[in-house]
Symmetry: C2
Subunit: 214 residues, 2 copies
Amino acid sequence: MQSRPSDSVSAVHDRLYRTLRSQVMHGELDPGAALTLRGIAKRFGVSMTPVREALRRLVAEGALSMSASGRVTTPELSNERIEELAAIRALLEPELASRALPRAHFALIERLQTINTANAEAVAKQDAVAYIRTNLEFHRTLYLRAQAPAMLAIAETVWLQLGPTMRALYTRLRRNEPPPHHRMILAALKAGDEPGLRLAVRADVTQGLRHLAG
Amino acid sequence: MQSRPSDSVSAVHDRLYRTLRSQVMHGELDPGAALTLRGIAKRFGVSMTPVREALRRLVAEGALSMSASGRVTTPELSNERIEELAAIRALLEPELASRALPRAHFALIERLQTINTANAEAVAKQDAVAYIRTNLEFHRTLYLRAQAPAMLAIAETVWLQLGPTMRALYTRLRRNEPPPHHRMILAALKAGDEPGLRLAVRADVTQGLRHLAG
DNA sequence: ACCGCCGCTTTGTGATCACATCAGGACATG
DNA sequence: CATGTCCTGATGTGATCACAAAGCGGCGGT
Protein backbone atom coordinates (compact mmCIF):
# COMPACT_ATOMS: atom_id res chain seq x y z
CA MET A 1 0.00 0.00 0.00
CA GLN A 2 2.40 2.62 1.33
CA SER A 3 3.30 3.92 -2.11
CA ARG A 4 5.99 6.64 -2.16
CA PRO A 5 6.36 9.05 0.78
CA SER A 6 8.10 11.89 -1.04
CA ASP A 7 8.34 11.37 -4.77
CA SER A 8 8.89 15.03 -5.63
CA VAL A 9 5.96 15.19 -8.02
CA SER A 10 4.10 12.71 -5.87
CA ALA A 11 3.10 13.47 -2.27
CA VAL A 12 -0.55 12.60 -2.44
CA HIS A 13 -1.78 15.63 -0.56
CA ASP A 14 0.08 17.88 -2.93
CA ARG A 15 -1.31 16.19 -5.99
CA LEU A 16 -4.79 16.53 -4.53
CA TYR A 17 -4.14 20.15 -3.73
CA ARG A 18 -3.04 21.01 -7.24
CA THR A 19 -5.86 19.11 -8.87
CA LEU A 20 -8.55 20.67 -6.74
CA ARG A 21 -6.99 24.10 -6.96
CA SER A 22 -7.00 23.92 -10.72
CA GLN A 23 -10.61 22.82 -10.77
CA VAL A 24 -11.69 25.65 -8.53
CA MET A 25 -9.65 28.34 -10.25
CA HIS A 26 -10.83 27.40 -13.72
CA GLY A 27 -14.46 27.32 -12.80
CA GLU A 28 -15.11 23.61 -13.02
CA LEU A 29 -17.21 23.76 -9.86
CA ASP A 30 -20.39 25.72 -9.27
CA PRO A 31 -20.60 28.10 -6.33
CA GLY A 32 -21.93 26.35 -3.25
CA ALA A 33 -20.87 22.87 -4.35
CA ALA A 34 -20.11 20.62 -1.38
CA LEU A 35 -16.90 18.66 -1.01
CA THR A 36 -16.68 15.85 1.54
CA LEU A 37 -13.53 14.28 2.87
CA ARG A 38 -14.65 10.72 2.29
CA GLY A 39 -16.07 11.55 -1.11
CA ILE A 40 -12.82 13.00 -2.39
CA ALA A 41 -10.81 10.29 -0.67
CA LYS A 42 -12.82 7.62 -2.45
CA ARG A 43 -12.70 9.47 -5.75
CA PHE A 44 -8.91 9.56 -5.67
CA GLY A 45 -8.47 6.22 -3.96
CA VAL A 46 -6.64 7.58 -0.91
CA SER A 47 -7.38 7.95 2.77
CA MET A 48 -8.91 10.95 4.47
CA THR A 49 -5.67 12.29 5.90
CA PRO A 50 -4.12 13.79 2.75
CA VAL A 51 -7.55 14.99 1.62
CA ARG A 52 -7.94 16.91 4.82
CA GLU A 53 -4.61 18.62 4.36
CA ALA A 54 -5.35 19.58 0.78
CA LEU A 55 -8.76 20.98 1.67
CA ARG A 56 -7.39 22.83 4.68
CA ARG A 57 -4.81 24.43 2.46
CA LEU A 58 -7.41 25.50 -0.08
CA VAL A 59 -9.61 26.89 2.66
CA ALA A 60 -6.63 28.86 3.96
CA GLU A 61 -6.23 30.43 0.53
CA GLY A 62 -9.90 31.30 0.28
CA ALA A 63 -10.44 28.86 -2.58
CA LEU A 64 -13.02 27.03 -0.51
CA SER A 65 -15.06 28.04 2.47
CA MET A 66 -15.75 26.06 5.60
CA SER A 67 -18.92 26.18 7.64
CA ALA A 68 -18.80 26.33 11.43
CA SER A 69 -19.28 22.57 11.53
CA GLY A 70 -16.33 22.00 9.22
CA ARG A 71 -18.30 21.33 6.05
CA VAL A 72 -16.35 22.44 3.02
CA THR A 73 -18.02 24.04 0.05
CA THR A 74 -17.04 26.18 -2.85
CA PRO A 75 -17.69 29.82 -1.88
CA GLU A 76 -20.72 31.88 -2.84
CA LEU A 77 -19.44 35.43 -2.82
CA SER A 78 -21.47 38.48 -1.90
CA ASN A 79 -21.52 41.38 -4.33
CA GLU A 80 -19.40 43.46 -1.98
CA ARG A 81 -16.82 40.74 -1.88
CA ILE A 82 -16.77 40.41 -5.65
CA GLU A 83 -16.27 44.13 -6.03
CA GLU A 84 -13.48 44.11 -3.48
CA LEU A 85 -11.69 41.29 -5.24
CA ALA A 86 -12.07 43.13 -8.52
CA ALA A 87 -10.57 46.20 -6.86
CA ILE A 88 -7.60 44.14 -5.75
CA ARG A 89 -7.11 42.87 -9.26
CA ALA A 90 -7.34 46.44 -10.52
CA LEU A 91 -4.63 47.41 -8.06
CA LEU A 92 -2.19 44.54 -8.54
CA GLU A 93 -2.42 43.57 -12.16
CA PRO A 94 -1.59 46.92 -13.77
CA GLU A 95 1.49 46.95 -11.55
CA LEU A 96 2.45 43.45 -12.66
CA ALA A 97 1.91 44.34 -16.30
CA SER A 98 3.95 47.49 -15.90
CA ARG A 99 6.83 45.53 -14.41
CA ALA A 100 6.62 42.98 -17.19
CA LEU A 101 6.63 45.59 -19.93
CA PRO A 102 10.41 46.19 -20.13
CA ARG A 103 10.96 42.47 -20.51
CA ALA A 104 8.16 41.80 -22.99
CA HIS A 105 9.95 40.86 -26.19
CA PHE A 106 8.44 39.66 -29.42
CA ALA A 107 8.40 35.98 -28.51
CA LEU A 108 6.25 36.75 -25.49
CA ILE A 109 3.82 38.87 -27.45
CA GLU A 110 3.51 36.12 -30.01
CA ARG A 111 2.72 33.59 -27.30
CA LEU A 112 0.11 35.92 -25.88
CA GLN A 113 -1.49 36.19 -29.29
CA THR A 114 -1.60 32.40 -29.58
CA ILE A 115 -3.26 32.13 -26.19
CA ASN A 116 -5.67 34.85 -27.18
CA THR A 117 -6.64 32.89 -30.28
CA ALA A 118 -7.41 29.85 -28.13
CA ASN A 119 -9.42 32.15 -25.92
CA ALA A 120 -11.47 33.33 -28.87
CA GLU A 121 -12.13 29.70 -29.84
CA ALA A 122 -13.38 28.98 -26.34
CA VAL A 123 -15.78 31.89 -26.69
CA ALA A 124 -17.00 30.55 -30.03
CA LYS A 125 -17.58 27.13 -28.49
CA GLN A 126 -19.36 28.63 -25.49
CA ASP A 127 -16.92 26.68 -23.31
CA ALA A 128 -16.81 28.57 -20.03
CA VAL A 129 -14.04 26.49 -18.48
CA ALA A 130 -11.76 26.82 -21.49
CA TYR A 131 -12.55 30.51 -21.63
CA ILE A 132 -11.55 31.08 -18.03
CA ARG A 133 -8.48 28.92 -18.39
CA THR A 134 -7.12 30.69 -21.46
CA ASN A 135 -8.03 34.07 -20.10
CA LEU A 136 -6.06 33.47 -16.90
CA GLU A 137 -3.23 31.94 -18.88
CA PHE A 138 -3.04 35.12 -20.92
CA HIS A 139 -2.62 37.20 -17.79
CA ARG A 140 -0.27 34.79 -16.04
CA THR A 141 2.01 34.50 -19.05
CA LEU A 142 2.39 38.25 -19.12
CA TYR A 143 2.85 38.66 -15.38
CA LEU A 144 5.47 35.93 -15.16
CA ARG A 145 7.78 38.38 -16.88
CA ALA A 146 7.36 40.82 -14.00
CA GLN A 147 9.79 38.77 -11.87
CA ALA A 148 7.54 39.34 -8.89
CA PRO A 149 6.55 35.90 -7.60
CA ALA A 150 4.90 37.08 -4.39
CA MET A 151 2.75 39.60 -6.21
CA LEU A 152 1.79 37.04 -8.82
CA ALA A 153 0.94 34.56 -6.08
CA ILE A 154 -1.45 37.06 -4.54
CA ALA A 155 -3.08 37.70 -7.90
CA GLU A 156 -3.53 33.97 -8.40
CA THR A 157 -5.12 33.68 -4.96
CA VAL A 158 -7.64 36.30 -6.01
CA TRP A 159 -8.36 34.41 -9.24
CA LEU A 160 -8.81 31.31 -7.17
CA GLN A 161 -11.39 32.95 -4.97
CA LEU A 162 -13.26 34.17 -8.02
CA GLY A 163 -13.18 30.83 -9.86
CA PRO A 164 -16.65 29.48 -9.09
CA THR A 165 -18.18 32.94 -9.40
CA MET A 166 -16.63 33.41 -12.83
CA ARG A 167 -18.08 30.11 -13.90
CA ALA A 168 -21.53 31.16 -12.80
CA LEU A 169 -21.07 34.52 -14.46
CA TYR A 170 -19.76 33.30 -17.79
CA THR A 171 -22.23 30.48 -18.18
CA ARG A 172 -25.08 32.86 -17.43
CA LEU A 173 -24.28 35.58 -19.89
CA ARG A 174 -23.26 33.61 -22.96
CA ARG A 175 -20.81 35.97 -24.57
CA ASN A 176 -20.04 35.67 -28.24
CA GLU A 177 -17.09 38.04 -28.48
CA PRO A 178 -13.61 37.64 -27.04
CA PRO A 179 -12.56 40.18 -24.41
CA PRO A 180 -11.96 43.44 -26.28
CA HIS A 181 -9.19 44.69 -24.01
CA HIS A 182 -6.78 41.90 -24.79
CA ARG A 183 -6.11 43.52 -28.15
CA MET A 184 -5.46 46.81 -26.40
CA ILE A 185 -3.05 45.10 -24.03
CA LEU A 186 -1.17 43.58 -26.94
CA ALA A 187 -1.06 46.91 -28.75
CA ALA A 188 0.28 48.70 -25.69
CA LEU A 189 2.92 46.02 -25.24
CA LYS A 190 4.08 46.37 -28.82
CA ALA A 191 4.17 50.16 -28.53
CA GLY A 192 5.94 50.09 -25.17
CA ASP A 193 3.15 52.35 -23.91
CA GLU A 194 3.22 51.97 -20.13
CA PRO A 195 0.27 54.20 -19.17
CA GLY A 196 -1.80 52.67 -21.95
CA LEU A 197 -0.91 49.19 -20.74
CA ARG A 198 -1.96 49.97 -17.20
CA LEU A 199 -5.26 51.34 -18.40
CA ALA A 200 -5.92 48.41 -20.72
CA VAL A 201 -5.18 45.85 -18.02
CA ARG A 202 -7.30 47.67 -15.49
CA ALA A 203 -10.18 47.86 -17.94
CA ASP A 204 -9.88 44.20 -18.85
CA VAL A 205 -9.82 43.14 -15.24
CA THR A 206 -12.74 45.30 -14.21
CA GLN A 207 -14.92 44.66 -17.23
CA GLY A 208 -16.18 41.14 -16.67
CA LEU A 209 -16.85 41.48 -12.98
CA ARG A 210 -18.73 44.72 -13.41
CA HIS A 211 -21.58 42.80 -15.00
CA LEU A 212 -22.33 41.15 -11.73
CA ALA A 213 -22.85 44.22 -9.65
CA GLY A 214 -25.07 45.79 -12.31
CA MET B 1 -9.30 11.95 26.08
CA GLN B 2 -11.43 12.93 23.12
CA SER B 3 -12.03 16.42 24.47
CA ARG B 4 -14.41 18.55 22.40
CA PRO B 5 -14.62 18.12 18.62
CA SER B 6 -16.02 21.55 17.79
CA ASP B 7 -16.10 23.91 20.73
CA SER B 8 -16.32 27.10 18.66
CA VAL B 9 -13.22 28.61 20.18
CA SER B 10 -11.68 25.19 20.52
CA ALA B 11 -10.87 23.00 17.52
CA VAL B 12 -7.32 22.12 18.42
CA HIS B 13 -5.86 22.65 14.98
CA ASP B 14 -7.37 26.12 14.86
CA ARG B 15 -6.02 27.07 18.25
CA LEU B 16 -2.60 25.85 17.18
CA TYR B 17 -2.90 27.78 13.95
CA ARG B 18 -3.74 31.05 15.66
CA THR B 19 -1.05 30.64 18.29
CA LEU B 20 1.70 29.84 15.81
CA ARG B 21 0.53 32.49 13.37
CA SER B 22 0.68 35.10 16.06
CA GLN B 23 4.16 34.01 17.07
CA VAL B 24 5.42 34.18 13.52
CA MET B 25 3.77 37.46 12.64
CA HIS B 26 5.01 39.22 15.75
CA GLY B 27 8.57 38.11 15.33
CA GLU B 28 8.82 35.69 18.23
CA LEU B 29 10.78 33.26 16.07
CA ASP B 30 14.11 33.81 14.39
CA PRO B 31 14.44 33.23 10.65
CA GLY B 32 15.41 29.66 9.89
CA ALA B 33 14.04 28.23 13.13
CA ALA B 34 12.91 24.62 12.69
CA LEU B 35 9.50 23.37 13.74
CA THR B 36 8.84 19.63 14.04
CA LEU B 37 5.47 17.96 14.13
CA ARG B 38 6.23 15.86 17.16
CA GLY B 39 7.89 18.73 18.96
CA ILE B 40 4.89 20.99 18.64
CA ALA B 41 2.52 18.13 19.35
CA LYS B 42 4.31 17.39 22.60
CA ARG B 43 4.56 21.07 23.52
CA PHE B 44 0.79 21.48 23.22
CA GLY B 45 -0.08 18.00 24.45
CA VAL B 46 -1.90 16.95 21.30
CA SER B 47 -1.31 14.42 18.54
CA MET B 48 0.44 15.05 15.26
CA THR B 49 -2.72 15.28 13.18
CA PRO B 50 -3.94 18.75 14.18
CA VAL B 51 -0.36 20.01 14.22
CA ARG B 52 0.10 18.93 10.66
CA GLU B 53 -3.02 20.79 9.59
CA ALA B 54 -2.00 23.97 11.36
CA LEU B 55 1.50 23.88 9.87
CA ARG B 56 0.19 23.09 6.41
CA ARG B 57 -2.09 26.08 6.63
CA LEU B 58 0.72 28.36 7.70
CA VAL B 59 2.92 27.06 4.91
CA ALA B 60 0.11 27.76 2.46
CA GLU B 61 0.05 31.37 3.64
CA GLY B 62 3.79 31.74 3.35
CA ALA B 63 4.22 32.13 7.09
CA LEU B 64 6.48 29.10 7.13
CA SER B 65 8.46 27.38 4.44
CA MET B 66 8.76 23.68 3.79
CA SER B 67 11.81 21.92 2.44
CA ALA B 68 11.54 19.25 -0.24
CA SER B 69 11.60 16.60 2.46
CA GLY B 70 8.75 18.23 4.33
CA ARG B 71 10.79 19.86 7.05
CA VAL B 72 9.12 23.06 8.21
CA THR B 73 11.11 26.13 9.15
CA THR B 74 10.50 29.80 9.52
CA PRO B 75 11.49 31.48 6.24
CA GLU B 76 14.79 33.21 5.51
CA LEU B 77 13.89 35.73 2.86
CA SER B 78 16.20 36.89 0.11
CA ASN B 79 16.67 40.61 -0.36
CA GLU B 80 14.68 40.53 -3.58
CA ARG B 81 11.80 38.90 -1.79
CA ILE B 82 11.90 41.44 1.01
CA GLU B 83 11.84 44.29 -1.46
CA GLU B 84 8.96 42.72 -3.31
CA LEU B 85 6.95 42.29 -0.15
CA ALA B 86 7.69 45.89 0.76
CA ALA B 87 6.46 46.91 -2.68
CA ILE B 88 3.22 45.04 -2.09
CA ARG B 89 2.76 46.80 1.22
CA ALA B 90 3.45 50.10 -0.52
CA LEU B 91 0.75 49.26 -3.02
CA LEU B 92 -1.96 47.93 -0.73
CA GLU B 93 -1.67 49.90 2.46
CA PRO B 94 -2.06 53.41 1.08
CA GLU B 95 -5.21 52.15 -0.61
CA LEU B 96 -6.49 50.71 2.67
CA ALA B 97 -5.69 53.92 4.51
CA SER B 98 -7.40 55.96 1.85
CA ARG B 99 -10.53 53.87 2.14
CA ALA B 100 -10.46 54.16 5.90
CA LEU B 101 -10.06 57.94 5.86
CA PRO B 102 -13.74 58.89 5.38
CA ARG B 103 -14.67 56.71 8.35
CA ALA B 104 -11.83 57.78 10.64
CA HIS B 105 -13.54 59.69 13.41
CA PHE B 106 -12.01 61.09 16.56
CA ALA B 107 -12.40 57.95 18.64
CA LEU B 108 -10.34 56.02 16.12
CA ILE B 109 -7.59 58.61 16.00
CA GLU B 110 -7.46 58.60 19.77
CA ARG B 111 -7.08 54.83 19.82
CA LEU B 112 -4.32 55.07 17.26
CA GLN B 113 -2.52 57.57 19.45
CA THR B 114 -2.80 55.23 22.42
CA ILE B 115 -1.35 52.39 20.39
CA ASN B 116 1.38 54.68 19.18
CA THR B 117 2.29 55.51 22.77
CA ALA B 118 2.62 51.83 23.56
CA ASN B 119 4.74 51.53 20.47
CA ALA B 120 7.07 54.26 21.70
CA GLU B 121 7.37 52.45 25.04
CA ALA B 122 8.38 49.28 23.23
CA VAL B 123 11.08 51.23 21.47
CA ALA B 124 12.32 52.64 24.78
CA LYS B 125 12.44 49.13 26.27
CA GLN B 126 14.22 47.75 23.20
CA ASP B 127 11.48 45.11 23.04
CA ALA B 128 11.40 43.98 19.42
CA VAL B 129 8.36 41.75 19.78
CA ALA B 130 6.28 44.42 21.49
CA TYR B 131 7.47 46.93 18.90
CA ILE B 132 6.34 44.77 16.00
CA ARG B 133 3.09 43.92 17.69
CA THR B 134 2.08 47.51 18.42
CA ASN B 135 3.27 48.69 15.04
CA LEU B 136 1.10 46.17 13.24
CA GLU B 137 -1.77 46.89 15.57
CA PHE B 138 -1.52 50.54 14.62
CA HIS B 139 -1.88 49.70 10.96
CA ARG B 140 -4.55 47.05 11.43
CA THR B 141 -6.69 49.30 13.58
CA LEU B 142 -6.67 51.92 10.87
CA TYR B 143 -7.27 49.52 7.99
CA LEU B 144 -10.16 47.80 9.74
CA ARG B 145 -12.11 50.95 9.00
CA ALA B 146 -11.58 50.47 5.28
CA GLN B 147 -14.32 47.80 5.20
CA ALA B 148 -12.17 45.75 2.86
CA PRO B 149 -11.64 42.39 4.53
CA ALA B 150 -10.03 40.66 1.56
CA MET B 151 -7.52 43.44 1.06
CA LEU B 152 -6.71 43.53 4.77
CA ALA B 153 -6.28 39.76 4.74
CA ILE B 154 -3.71 40.06 1.98
CA ALA B 155 -1.86 42.76 3.88
CA GLU B 156 -1.78 40.56 6.96
CA THR B 157 -0.42 37.69 4.91
CA VAL B 158 2.42 39.94 3.84
CA TRP B 159 3.10 40.96 7.44
CA LEU B 160 3.10 37.29 8.33
CA GLN B 161 5.73 36.51 5.75
CA LEU B 162 7.87 39.36 7.01
CA GLY B 163 7.52 38.46 10.71
CA PRO B 164 10.80 36.61 11.33
CA THR B 165 12.70 39.00 9.08
CA MET B 166 11.38 42.00 11.00
CA ARG B 167 12.51 40.39 14.21
CA ALA B 168 16.00 39.93 12.86
CA LEU B 169 15.99 43.46 11.49
CA TYR B 170 14.73 45.22 14.57
CA THR B 171 16.89 43.35 17.02
CA ARG B 172 19.96 44.08 14.89
CA LEU B 173 19.56 47.82 14.53
CA ARG B 174 18.49 48.83 18.00
CA ARG B 175 16.41 51.87 17.27
CA ASN B 176 15.82 54.45 19.94
CA GLU B 177 13.15 56.54 18.25
CA PRO B 178 9.58 55.60 17.43
CA PRO B 179 8.68 55.49 13.72
CA PRO B 180 8.48 59.10 12.58
CA HIS B 181 5.76 58.59 10.00
CA HIS B 182 3.11 57.52 12.46
CA ARG B 183 2.79 61.14 13.52
CA MET B 184 2.41 62.16 9.89
CA ILE B 185 -0.29 59.53 9.42
CA LEU B 186 -2.17 60.85 12.43
CA ALA B 187 -1.83 64.42 11.23
CA ALA B 188 -3.13 63.55 7.77
CA LEU B 189 -6.05 61.68 9.31
CA LYS B 190 -6.99 64.69 11.43
CA ALA B 191 -6.71 67.01 8.47
CA GLY B 192 -8.63 64.70 6.15
CA ASP B 193 -5.69 65.02 3.78
CA GLU B 194 -6.00 61.99 1.48
CA PRO B 195 -2.86 62.46 -0.67
CA GLY B 196 -0.83 63.25 2.42
CA LEU B 197 -2.15 60.13 4.12
CA ARG B 198 -1.20 57.93 1.18
CA LEU B 199 2.29 59.39 1.15
CA ALA B 200 2.76 59.04 4.89
CA VAL B 201 1.61 55.42 4.90
CA ARG B 202 3.79 54.55 1.94
CA ALA B 203 6.78 56.17 3.59
CA ASP B 204 6.12 54.41 6.90
CA VAL B 205 5.78 51.06 5.21
CA THR B 206 8.87 51.46 3.06
CA GLN B 207 11.13 52.99 5.68
CA GLY B 208 11.96 50.07 7.94
CA LEU B 209 12.47 47.53 5.21
CA ARG B 210 14.69 49.84 3.22
CA HIS B 211 17.41 49.41 5.82
CA LEU B 212 17.84 45.82 4.81
CA ALA B 213 18.60 46.35 1.17
CA GLY B 214 21.01 49.17 1.95
C1' DA C 1 44.42 13.57 10.85
C1' DC C 2 40.96 13.52 7.28
C1' DC C 3 37.44 11.41 4.50
C1' DG C 4 33.86 8.20 3.29
C1' DC C 5 30.53 4.78 4.64
C1' DC C 6 27.22 2.60 7.50
C1' DG C 7 23.72 2.30 11.02
C1' DC C 8 20.68 4.56 14.32
C1' DT C 9 17.48 8.11 15.36
C1' DT C 10 14.50 11.56 14.07
C1' DT C 11 10.91 13.13 11.18
C1' DG C 12 7.19 13.43 7.79
C1' DT C 13 3.42 10.65 5.40
C1' DG C 14 -0.57 8.12 4.94
C1' DA C 15 -4.00 4.60 6.73
C1' DT C 16 -7.21 3.30 10.06
C1' DC C 17 -10.08 3.74 13.95
C1' DA C 18 -13.18 5.62 17.79
C1' DC C 19 -15.95 9.34 18.82
C1' DA C 20 -18.89 13.64 18.83
C1' DT C 21 -21.69 16.26 16.04
C1' DC C 22 -24.72 17.49 12.45
C1' DA C 23 -28.14 17.23 8.64
C1' DG C 24 -32.18 15.25 6.92
C1' DG C 25 -36.14 12.59 7.10
C1' DA C 26 -39.73 9.79 9.28
C1' DC C 27 -43.05 9.81 12.59
C1' DA C 28 -46.09 11.27 16.05
C1' DT C 29 -48.77 14.91 17.99
C1' DG C 30 -51.44 19.12 18.23
C1' DC D 1 -52.26 19.83 7.65
C1' DA D 2 -48.56 21.86 10.16
C1' DT D 3 -44.96 21.43 13.48
C1' DG D 4 -41.89 19.61 16.76
C1' DT D 5 -39.08 15.47 18.05
C1' DC D 6 -36.24 11.67 17.59
C1' DC D 7 -33.45 8.52 15.11
C1' DT D 8 -30.12 7.19 11.72
C1' DG D 9 -26.66 7.82 8.44
C1' DA D 10 -23.11 10.89 7.06
C1' DT D 11 -19.26 13.79 8.23
C1' DG D 12 -15.37 16.10 10.55
C1' DT D 13 -11.81 15.51 14.31
C1' DG D 14 -8.10 13.70 16.62
C1' DA D 15 -5.17 9.61 18.13
C1' DT D 16 -2.27 5.93 16.94
C1' DC D 17 0.43 3.03 14.06
C1' DA D 18 3.56 1.27 10.25
C1' DC D 19 6.70 2.76 6.99
C1' DA D 20 10.20 5.30 4.17
C1' DA D 21 13.27 8.81 3.80
C1' DA D 22 16.44 12.12 5.59
C1' DG D 23 19.62 13.80 8.88
C1' DC D 24 23.38 12.80 11.94
C1' DG D 25 27.06 10.81 14.29
C1' DG D 26 30.47 7.35 14.96
C1' DC D 27 33.57 4.05 13.12
C1' DG D 28 36.99 2.35 10.13
C1' DG D 29 40.10 3.03 6.24
C1' DT D 30 43.71 5.57 3.99
